[in-house]
Symmetry: C2
């Protein structure tokens, strides 16, 4: 099928670009001896995770157990779930995953560690647990090196658990100081620091500047979007994912309406101007979305794009777009080569 025959709105992934992004990041991390553990939340497609593994990734990262279950079902056997797993139902599912696969998780509190240990004993599995720390995102994570070491020691003495190291997201100017302080304290406590896992596409090319990084978790590098273009992490010509859309209305000479709205493009603004970049008409703004309509504003009266014309929209945030579609089309040279099922779409539980 030619890409022109794909009904819109649709997610198109340029396979040449995707493959180049996967290959180049792997080469960069290989050069510096950093393990690559890509985050699949961006694409949620087992086949793309397999491409990342085939290129040299040591395993994958998932945010939710549901994502990990889908990836494990597809045969992937080394998964880091960077999440605090809480509650009997989820701990039982974690046990199921641990019996099929090498699973690691993160933790940032005693409550989480104690729950993991209880489940490991009850269901008879063992688990590496990495301590999550926070150096400024203001999300999860212990707040100080002292807390990190205290939690690491608790993991190390908890039946069924092994202290797997430290993890954070994202890498920033406070990360190095935190790691170095924590590493000294861990040495004093005779606790080996096996892994230091850092995440985030935006600063990934700085990873080699920090010799203590042993593993990198990046997601968006595979697809790219307006956010990664802004940060410089993935330039425009290296953005693999686009939302193909059709102009469905031209009510005025300055307005065009697309068939892609918030249920196709997502509503993350992230400090950007508008909700996407129309690649064929970069001067046209996209300042508003309805659920099924994109509201475009032309800078000057024009009959283009006309009703029925197709345009390619680079979305602000590719990870949200993937999660809105059941399938994405892998395209090479204008021809649809593969349809990928977004098998982990919606796996928030």
């Amino acid at each position: 099928m030619n890409v022109d025959q794909v009904e819109t709105p649709a997610v198109i992934v340029d396979l040449d670009v995707l493959e180049a992004n996967i290959r180049d990041l792997q080469a960069y991390l290989n050069r510096y001896g950093i393990k690559n553990r890509p985050h699949i939340k961006t694409h949620k497609v087992p086949e793309i995770a397999q491409m990342q593994l085939a290129a040299g990734a040591v395993g994958i990262t998932c945010q939710k157990l549901g994502e990990a279950e889908v990836m494990c079902d597809s045969g992937i056997r080394d998964i880091f779930v960077t999440y605090n797993i809480i509650g009997d139902a989820k701990l039982q599912r974690l046990a199921g995953l641990a019996q099929r696969s090498e699973i690691k998780v993160s933790a940032d509190s005693r409550v989480v560690v104690d729950g993991l240990s209880k489940a490991a004993r009850e269901f008879g599995f063992s688990l590496r647990v990495l301590v999550e720390f926070d150096t400024g995102l203001g999300r999860c994570g212990v707040q100080s090196p002292a807390e990190a070491v205290e939690l690491g020691e608790r993991i190390a003495r908890s039946p069924g658990l092994q202290f797997g190291g430290l993890m954070t997201y994202p890498l920033n100017q406070h990360t190095a100081g935190f790691i170095e302080d924590t590493a000294r304290r861990l040495t004093d406590a005779a606790l080996p620091l096996e892994t230091v896992s850092v995440g985030g596409t935006h600063v990934i090319r700085q990873a080699h500047l920090y010799p203590w990084i042993t593993e990198y978790r990046a997601g968006m590098y595979a697809y790219g979007d307006r956010l990664t273009v802004k940060s410089g992490a993935v330039p425009l010509e290296r953005c693999a994912l686009k939302v193909l859309s059709t102009v469905v209305s031209r009510p005025t000479a300055e307005r065009a309406i697309l068939d892609a709205g918030s249920k196709s493009l997502g509503t993350d603004l992230l400090g950007l101007d508008g909700y996407g970049l129309i690649l064929e008409y970069p001067d046209i703004r996209l300042p508003a979305l309805s659920e099924e309509h994109g509201h475009c504003v032309l800078t000057a009266p024009s009959h283009r794009p006309e009703i029925g014309e197709r345009v390619s929209v680079l979305p602000n945030h590719c990870c949200l777009v993937s999660n809105l579609f059941d399938r994405v089309y892998g395209v090479r040279g204008g021809v649809v080569e593969k349809e990928f099922k977004v098998a982990a779409r919606g796996k928030v539980v």
Copy 2:
């Protein structure tokens, strides 16, 4: 199953409230002789559409053909697709729907009307087409009564098509003037104005003030959310949908992290403060979402909510939340009575 056993994040719909919302809107519209044609984009659940029809709705509204196909498959036989249908593939699908069901569509341009007529002739179906007009949203729709009449006449003389009337969204202070002017011109043109269809939950209780409204399309009235609370259309106690979430981290005394992020709550801000209202802790703010984390800020240091505690989040925009989940749980008195499959989720094509 008790609602406490539902794994989080999850969408919970209070069935008593849902039924009351459906019943009360129907009673209001019945009182004034206005036909009810609820928009299913809010819930995307065939069973809930059937509840709306059983209460007295004349049919349903869908935004996309994919939604209409799902609803038609479930046995619904009167569907208004309020969209410009463009392109051979979509016109062929429209033909398929028209052969199984009473389908109406909207149009706002000659290009769309001519495409519909060509398809009606080619595939042998007939179709009512309503002219969409714009009185301020700045989305689709003709811009003047003269254009509306011209397009209505074009529909009326197009083989396979019948002029079905006028439609707009939303009802605002310019709608009445536009309708009255257009109605006069249609009378002059000897074109009967069969239906005037207006949409939008926020001003629905004003519908009776406009005697020319024959049909109302509302979606959000069924569920309610922070936006409808703000507009007064659905008060807080009449909000049926909530996102059940678990606290997974308490990194500081002023911060709590939920397991519901932008992939569960959506990122529509719509002028509201934060991304949701935590019903058990209305003073706690939710100013940021990661994909799988909700970042809560407490107004004062507190140990509540503690790790593992469940909270109910009223989202900003229920229509986006429905579209993120494969199922929603219908709950009565704390017990899950039904699991609804969100069968039209993701049907953007």
